[in-house]
């Protein structure tokens, strides 16, 4: 009774390489599936779109967008999408929903808040339930983001972050955007105290609240310069029509990406992802078999840079001699 996909993993991978955007739903269905057969197919898919197979990293720009609830992430995303579409870029959004999983089920309502033209084939939006921790990513989300980056110009991972949970997004994305509003005092404290990692781009919404917005901007600038994070772009966007600041934000995202050593960032992301998957599968005992986290990280750094994610996972398993 396994859910079958009409196309094999290899075919789906080939479609992504040809930038066939209509493959996206089936790609997600496959990557989310946990049956052994589906996982085997997913490995084949990832092989097709790996850096080794493509000869370069998947070219799409993976952007993580995170911030506390209620700061206007969805309306920001709606406007970003419109701007990207105007620049003729295709966009995939993976919206990670934070709702509780007490029953195992979840309510995924986020896509309603992202305004898109349903007939626009250049936009793909998929909601997924969050991982085990607040703000954490389901394993499939990271994998899917990298696969979709082979076909889409931009892949957005949207999560709700509340201070300490941005690291998983940072691990998965090329560019991390943190969204704050003028009264996000807590976040500013987290940033100053170094609890929150400094993002690549900071967005301040509701810039139409003239007084509070100016004060918040001054505060953030002071905090960034005290942290020596002069490279972090700070963009202010308005929440009321007409939209302002969106073009500047897209330019800032492009500038960050242009200045990035993409192969290095993706390689680091892939290695962390492989280790996280390994730990999720084999737990602390598995980690001990690798000689601890630090030792495992060092070992990964010595591996060939072209090894794709599934092969890295298998290499870790072989090293730990974990019986599958």
């Amino acid at each position: 009774m396994t859910e079958r996909t009409r196309a094999s993993g290899r075919d789906l991978g080939a479609r992504l390489r040809e930038r066939d955007l209509s493959a996206a739903p089936a790609v997600l269905n496959l990557i989310e599936s946990r049956t052994p057969e589906a996982r085997e197919q997913a490995r084949a898919l990832l092989g097709e779109v790996s850096a080794a197979a493509l000869g370069h990293e998947p070219p799409g720009h993976i952007v993580g967008v995170t911030g506390p609830p209620g700061v206007g992430k969805s309306s920001l995303l709606s406007r970003l999408l419109a701007q990207w579409r105007r620049r003729e870029k295709s966009v995939a959004v993976l919206a990670v929903d934070p709702s509780s999983r007490r029953s195992g089920g979840s309510l995924l309502g986020d896509r309603a808040r992202i305004a898109v033209d349903p007939k626009d084939r250049g936009v793909f939006v998929r909601s997924t339930a969050a991982g085990r921790r607040l703000g954490g990513l389901a394993p499939a989300t990271r994998t899917a983001a990298h696969a979709l980056a082979a076909a889409f110009d931009v892949v957005v991972i949207e999560t709700v972050g509340v201070g300490q949970s941005e690291t998983e997004v940072a691990d998965a994305a090329d560019t991390v955007v943190v969204v704050l509003q003028p009264d996000s005092g807590d976040m500013l404290q987290f940033l100053k105290a170094g609890i929150m990692e400094v993002p690549d781009v900071l967005v301040l919404t509701k810039s139409d609240l003239a007084g509070p917005a100016r004060r918040a901007r001054a505060d953030l600038e002071a905090a960034l310069s005290a942290l020596g994070a002069g490279a972090t772009a700070l963009c202010a966007v308005s929440s009321l029509p007409p939209p302002a600041g969106i073009r500047e934000l897209v330019d800032a995202l492009d500038a960050h990406r242009a200045g990035l050593d993409l192969p290095a960032r993706r390689l680091a992301a892939r290695r962390r992802h492989a280790l996280d998957e390994f730990v999720a599968e084999h737990g602390e005992r598995g980690l001990r078999a690798l000689g601890g986290r630090l030792e495992a990280e060092r070992w990964l750094e010595r591996q060939d840079e072209t090894i794709d994610l599934p092969s890295l996972e298998r290499a870790l398993e072989a090293r730990a001699q974990v019986v599958r």
């Binding site: 009774m1 996909t5 739903p25 946990r34 029953s103 979840s106 896509r111 309603a112 349903p118 007939k119």
Partner: protein, 667 residues
């Protein structure tokens, strides 16, 4: 011997205003219906508008598809309004309009139609519902974001207080909160909090010396359920709070201005599809809740018809409800006495209890920053109350006669006729209205319309002047409902209200945990979690049912994609395709299922979604259900299928069947 003082009033009271909530198809047919109703002894009008008119779309807009003339009359411009009110003397008529997001516009059309009859605006009497917060919370016919919506309300109040002194510019509704599941305490507290938000907004726009008249013009639209003793106590409690608010918060000195004035439509939530004749008794008892005690008696009453859970009522059904009001007012001795609960310990005790609960709840809303800021909180609280109520019905703790108890029945002769006992709207109405609209646009002076709309846009953006004068000018120039609303959408932005379902707590009944096991094992077999799309196509904003389905499915362990109301077929199809769902549930209560469900099925095919079963829920007559099944719908649920767990079990089985037969999905 001294004479015993008479317990009677020296003169019997005058009866309340009697109305029937009516309107369908086009202006001409509704006008004929109104005139017949007035001949039958109805003393006021209550206009039901269709959903495109209520949400600000013209009949030819994509979202209007299937909805034109369905739940009310389609009014697209000043010509329609003139036809609607033809031969009804507007200097004497008292007209209630159930209109909210577009209230300023429909009031303008009414003013212009009166002008044409030679009636000046200061003579007009009536009510615009004009209560936006309950649209976000329950009814769903909002159009603009909260800030600009509150401004439109404040503008209409400021305008009518000055120019139409006998108009009730807003009817703050507790009605729909009860329909959405509110307990009596929540109903009182959320309504009063809503009133505070409105009055605070108006206070910014009128001089303080007018606040007394403003306060005096605020009226309420309440609900009454079948627990009629407690429901009466609720209205007495509201009177106390209203008086207190006027005195303490707004410094209203005239006692008359502080009197709670309310109209009522009794409960639709409790009307059943099973043994529908029983609804007549329910309606009669509910009418007592709002008439028994003189100190908290309704000023205006409209009663639902016995068959509202089946479909739209026919003129005869509405007449039957009107007769109930007339018997109560003219045959019984109800109006001969002073307040019959005065000094009643039981009544005073109930009122005190409700007041205590309501004050605590109002405090909570105030702490959240007032009703506008607390929309998310109130919405989630209503969804949770509704969930609890439904669980009590399912467990049998709450008796609903004929539905979960005393179910064996003889066949009902009331539904045996060829029409199935309901009104069927002529399917040609939509095409007719589109054609008529085209002719209207061709006949008007375009430059005048463009100029009026440009002025409207300027006033909307600048936020300095009252919106009413430019709105009236646009009505005179021949602008359409859709043009007026689109101009404001461009100026104010669009808005989606919270769905209220994200925070509701998980249920813990044994049956639900059994379902959870089934979902778990099916999900294992599928490879990923069972994913269910709950969609509301069209303009129907009655989302209570869809919300309860979504919450129960989540509690049963499914991943539920629920995007709220007002989706086009292509939005639903795109979501289904992109989200990779295993099953789709669609909910429609506005009667537009015959057009919209096939449209969704076509859109799904176009989007390449195959072999994903579609189930439908709503107020769907059996004849239509058959047609839907033929069009490919896997199952149709109506109010008689009130057992949500049973529905969940069906859905699980449907998905299991499709997958065991080896059909491919997901590609």
């Amino acid at each position: 011997m001294p004479e015993t003082p008479s317990p009677r009033l020296p003169e019997p009271d005058r009866p309340w205003m009697m109305r029937t909530y009516a309107g369908h198809s086009d202006a001409k047919r509704s006008n004929e219906l109104y005139r017949r109703n007035l001949e039958k002894g109805q003393t006021g009008l209550s206009i039901a508008f269709d959903l495109p008119t209520q949400t600000g779309y013209d009949p030819d807009h994509e979202l209007a598809r299937g909805e034109v003339g369905k739940v009310g009359v389609s009014i697209a411009h000043e010509g329609d309004m003139a036809t609607l009110l033809n031969q009804i003397p507007l200097d004497q008529m008292n007209t209630s309009m159930t209109i909210n997001a577009t209230a300023a516009w429909l009031l303008a059309l009414y003013i212009v139609a009166a002008e044409a009859q030679g009636v000046p605006e200061e003579k007009l009497q009536g009510t615009t519902q004009n209560d936006i917060l309950k649209e976000y919370l329950s009814r769903g016919t909002y159009a603009f974001p909260p800030g600009p919506s509150m401004r439109l309300i404040a503008d209409t109040i400021a305008y009518t207080v000055e120019h139409i002194p006998k108009w009730n510019p807003i009817n703050i509704c507790s009605y729909h909160l009860q329909e959405a599941g509110a307990t009596p305490v929540q109903e009182i507290a959320f309504t009063m909090s809503n009133a505070i938000a409105v009055l605070d907004a108006v206070r910014q726009r009128v001089p303080q010396e007018l606040m007394g008249s403003v306060f005096g013009r605020i009226s309420f639209f309440v609900n009454a359920g079948v627990r009629f003793v407690e429901e009466h106590a609720k209205l007495r409690a509201m009177s106390v709070l209203w008086d207190e608010l006027g005195r303490e918060r707004y410094g209203v000195e005239d006692e008359k201005h502080r009197r709670l004035r309310y109209g009522v439509q009794v409960n639709s939530l409790g009307l059943t599809e099973a043994q529908p004749e029983n609804n007549v008794y329910r309606i009669a008892l509910e009418a007592l809740a709002v008439t028994l005690g003189r100190d908290a008696r309704a000023r205006a009453i409209q009663l639902p018809a016995w068959n509202e859970a089946l479909g739209l009522p026919r003129p005869w059904d509405q007449q039957w409800s009107l007769r109930l009001q007339q018997i109560l007012a003219y045959e019984t001795d109800l109006l001969e006495y002073p307040d019959i609960f005065e000094g009643s310990k039981v009544m005073d005790g109930l009122v005190a209890e409700l007041l205590e609960g309501a004050r605590t709840e109002m405090q909570r809303v105030a702490e959240l920053g007032g009703a506008v800021e607390a929309v998310d909180y109130m919405k989630a609280a209503l969804v949770e109350s509704h969930r609890k109520r439904w669980q009590r019905i399912e467990s049998g703790e709450l008796t609903v006669v004929g539905m979960n108890r005393f179910m064996s029945t003889e066949p009902s002769p009331l539904t045996a006729g060829a029409d199935g006992g309901i009104l069927v709207v002529d399917p040609e109405v939509e095409a007719d209205q589109r054609g008529a609209l085209e002719r209207w646009r061709a006949s008007r002076q375009e430059s005048a319309v463009a100029e009026a709309l440009a002025e409207l846009a300027r006033v909307a953006r600048e936020d300095q002047e009252n919106i009413m004068p430019v709105t009236i000018a646009a009505a005179r120039a021949g602008a359409t409902t859709g043009e007026w609303a689109q101009t404001l959408r461009d100026a104010f932005g669009e808005y989606r209200a919270p769905t209220g379902v994200t925070d509701a707590a998980a249920a813990g009944s044994e049956e639900v945990s059994e379902l959870r096991d089934e979902v778990e094992s099916l999900s294992q077999a599928l490879g990923r979690r069972l994913k269910f799309l709950v969609g509301k196509p069209g303009l129907d904003g009655h989302s209570n049912g869809a919300e309860q389905i979504a919450v129960r499915a989540r509690d049963a362990g499914m991943d539920v994609v629920y995007e709220g109301i007002r989706l086009t077929p292509s939005q639903i199809a795109t979501s289904a395709a992109q989200e990779g769902v295993h099953v789709i549930g669609l909910s429609i209560l506005s009667g537009s299922h015959r057009e919209l469900i096939p449209a969704v099925i076509d859109a799904l095919q176009e989007a390449g979604v195959e072999d994903v079963p579609v189930v439908v829920g709503g107020i769907i007559p059996e004849a239509d259900a058959e047609a839907l099944r033929e069009a490919g719908v896997a199952a149709v649920y109506t109010p008689k299928d009130w057992n949500l767990n049973g529905m969940m079990r069906d859905i699980i089985e449907l998905v299991a069947e499709r997958h065991s037969s080896g059909t491919a999905v997901g590609a």
